[in-house]
Symmetry: C2
Subunit: 156 residues, 2 copies
Amino acid sequence: MTDRDFLKRAIDLAHIHAAGENSGPFAAIVVKKNVIIAEAWNQVVANNDPTAHAEIIAIRKACQAQQSYNLEGCTLFSSCEPCPMCLSAIYWARMDGVIYAASKEDAAYGGFDDSLIYDEMEKEWSARKIKSQRMLAKAGRAVFETWRHNPRKIEY
Amino acid sequence: MTDRDFLKRAIDLAHIHAAGENSGPFAAIVVKKNVIIAEAWNQVVANNDPTAHAEIIAIRKACQAQQSYNLEGCTLFSSCEPCPMCLSAIYWARMDGVIYAASKEDAAYGGFDDSLIYDEMEKEWSARKIKSQRMLAKAGRAVFETWRHNPRKIEY
């Protein structure tokens, strides 16, 4: 199968769910060495889970299939450009790359606007829309001292 | 309980896991109307899941407890400043606010450096470190046409 075929598969899945109930118009596939190791679609409404974007679920499933939290050597095929949450997850999973079809402008046309979050990322806390506060800074930092001295820790 | 007490609880949990095995030095709590509705800690290594940050798990648990994908009226207490993935999830969950202790610089001191991801967010795809490609743009956009015409859709 070619990259085009894998992406077509993701789009087909997204299309099915775009027409469904309790669903959303997004799907994603993880491919390793030309084999699909995970397929997923948006389940925010179905699962009452705001983190259940197609890409997040696909990454989680691929990791279970590999029994690893590291997806080096894997590519994500997504029906739509990933939101900041999913893009970050792609980095944390150390994936090789991402191939997508619809743009975030297309997603906005469908009622899903990620641009607020992209904009908020670039700001300082004080300028963000969400209320925030920092306290107990010293106690917070002490946690990492404990971690640094943990002889059994697995660095990830 | 005060905000300080809730944050202290998150730090205590993070401390326990910072000293543990197959664990990570992060914990988070979701509070609604002065009641803890979810507690979580980092389980990336334990669960082979790169998305299993404390905040993500706490949000997912809180949503299950509320049977809703919307956490309006809830505040997240996190032992550490959220990474871009978790910050995005906080926005998607429509939480009221976030209170945290350690900074991302403290996290970097512990070996967890989110700054690459924050930097990557601001760039165009072509300038990002991860390989990317867009194809089948028209087919990708068509998914949102289907969605817009889906009479059973729940907008989320």
